[in-house]
Amino acid sequence: MSFISYLKDGISLGSIYAIIALGYTMVYGIAKMLNFAHGDVIMVGAFVILAAITKAGLSPLLSVLLAIIVCTVLGVTIEMIAYRPLRKASSNLAVLITAIGVSYLLQNVALLIFGADAKSFVTVIDVPALKLFDGQLTIKGITIVTIIACIVIMAGLTFFVKKTKPGRAMQAVSEDRDAAQLMGINVNATISLTFAIGSGLAAIAGLLLCSAYPTLTPYTGAMPGIKAFVAAVFGGIGSIPGAMIGGILLGVIEIFGRAYISSQVADAIVFAVLIIVLLVRPAGLFGKNIQEKV
């Protein structure tokens, strides 16, 4: 039964990674950049929820909505100020380093406002636990909510990208930015929209992450952010189902590693997975391999 219990924990953690990874994968697929600050937007989202509930006394639902709005605006603003000017830069290192700078900026602003002490997160999602096998296996309410949220978000995003006009514009920009521009697609607006969606998802990820692991510091988002990127790479960057499956696999690997090998090297295992995947199948499980044209 402990195996199933670990598996359940793995899927739950993996679902959170998956939601973060969806944000990464969309931004990477469309803006062709690694948004290092994505994990920190999660942290901002969680802090907004915490502050809205404890300081402003808003209802949980309103707080979450507020967090989504704040993160969306934040994501779009970051893109406009820090990333857009570098989109045509001669070195692709430029935007990556800038993204690292933005990540640091968010962490340190949070540090100044909220301090370095770990805050305990409030209960936002109150769903009763599910007891199975005569109480031998308990599935926490948050676990159920997380997994359902992950599936709903993936389905919604797939529908959006495949079936709606702005979604198809995203595909076009992802495929060939210049050609999309010539076809009359507003590339800047499309990329902004991508950042908006990715950052809005980050707020939800922040809620789920901090509900499952209820401590919050300015660095809360950094590690899950990096791991979610690993998940996105694992699944094949740019692929929506890839991000979901990569996220869940990674969550399961991490929990199993923690349980069966050593909790001290669980992160090392996750990163070893990344390295192996990139070496064996650089495009990930569902990605396309693209070669530079000569």
Binding site: P85, T98, N108, I226, V233, A272, I275
Partner: protein, 357 residues
């Protein structure tokens, strides 16, 4: 043609001279008692970070790859050399022991550079960056559970304190997350010379990097950076030269690690985290990617200033972050570049030298 050769060597000498002048000034201030203890305590770490940022610049600036695991190489150099110093503490006198420790730190970090570089350098850009980050974390994780002890039967290595199975009278040197303690004490007799040693190591680092960059191999490294396909089309083995730069950079980072480890009484793996790698990257970016003298100046300013201004340190990382973003936008955004070259032209009075294509 002669002109361009003398120009680069002149440039190199200015850099050496700058380091030496700074050293002489600081040393004079120190010996006349004009240097506070706080400042004195900063001198060796400054040398450590200067070497680290110079070596990172070789990869970021000249090889054009973003490495986010530089602290990992420092960590490997620090631990391997501190282990050596502790093992042979009574067998070899301080000066040769330190020299051997430096060579060991450089060699072990260099070997790690090769081992990590071979898989990593097959990747490009963002993936390469994230994998170097991953390797940095793996190194940290593994050293964190590594225990090494010595007794009459020789060295013992294990993943836990109990696993060492030491004979009575044996001594634990590396204690997992607690790291290695007491390395600094072994070098009490030459402790006062560590700043001098640090400066000598900076000069050696500069010598290696500047000469490498201005040689056939350095041109191959930069050609591979500027255009991989074109470099291969003229017969340059891109992977080989990227690996060369990566390895030399790792070995020099190892040297920085050695200096760091031997200046401290406590060596802990948690210091060598992602934040340290980023901090070094900030020095490189601020000093100018590919600009060695800039790396030195930026390291001195960014490292020493926040330490000196009390209370400032709360804002230190925040200011780093803003500086990093602003510098990148200013230096790399096409709009900013055009604006700058217009400004330069206006100041210089329309010289046709920098015709834009």
């Amino acid at each position: 043609m002669k002109k361009s050769l003398t120009k680069t060597s002149k440039n190199n000498f200015i850099t050496y001279a700058m380091v030496i002048v700074v050293f002489v000034v600081v040393q004079t201030l120190s010996s006349t008692g004009n240097l506070s203890n706080l400042l004195k305590g900063l001198l060796v770490p400054l040398c450590v970070y200067t070497i680290a940022s110079l070596s990172l610049n070789l990869v970021v600036g000249f090889s054009g790859e973003l490495s986010l695991g530089h602290a990992g190489f420092m960590c490997v150099g620090a631990y391997s050399s501190a282990l050596f110093s502790n093992v042979v503490r009574d067998a070899i006198p301080s000066v040769p022991r330190l020299i051997i420790a430096i060579l060991i730190g450089a060699a072990v970090a260099g070997v790690f550079g090769i081992l990590i570089g071979i898989p990593v350098l097959r990747l490009r850009g963002d993936y390469l960056a994230i994998v170097t980050l991953a390797f940095g974390e793996i190194i940290k994780n593994l050293i964190n559970i590594l225990y090494v002890g010595i007794d009459e039967n020789g060295l013992h290595v294990a993943a836990s304190s109990a696993g060492l199975k030491m004979a009575p009278g044996g001594k634990q040197i590396m204690k997992g997350a607690l790291g290695i303690s007491g390395t600094g004490a072994i070098y009490k007799d030459i402790k006062g010379q560590f700043f001098l040693i640090g400066v000598i190591l900076i000069i050696i680092t500069l010598f290696i990097i500047q000469n490498l960059v201005n040689s056939r191999s350095g041109r191959a490294v930069m050609a591979a950076r500027d255009n991989r396909i074109a470099a291969e089309s003229i017969g340059i083995n891109v992977t080989k030269y990227k690996l060369l730069a990566f390895t030399v950079s790792a070995a020099l980072a190892g040297v920085a690690g050695v200096l760091y480890a031997h200046n401290l009484s406590m060596l802990k793996v948690s210091t060598f985290d992602y934040n340290m790698s980023i901090m070094i990257l900030v020095y490189v970016v601020l000093g100018g990617i590919g600009n060695l003298r800039g790396s030195i100046v930026a390291t001195i300013i960014l490292y020493a200033l926040p330490e000196l201004l009390r209370g400032f340190s709360t804002y230190r990382m925040l200011i780093y972050a803003i500086v990093l973003i602003a510098m990148m936008l200013f230096n790399w955004a096409p709009a900013a570049r055009t604006w700058r070259s217009r400004m330069v032209e206006r100041v210089k009075g329309n010289k046709p030298k920098k015709e834009a294509a």
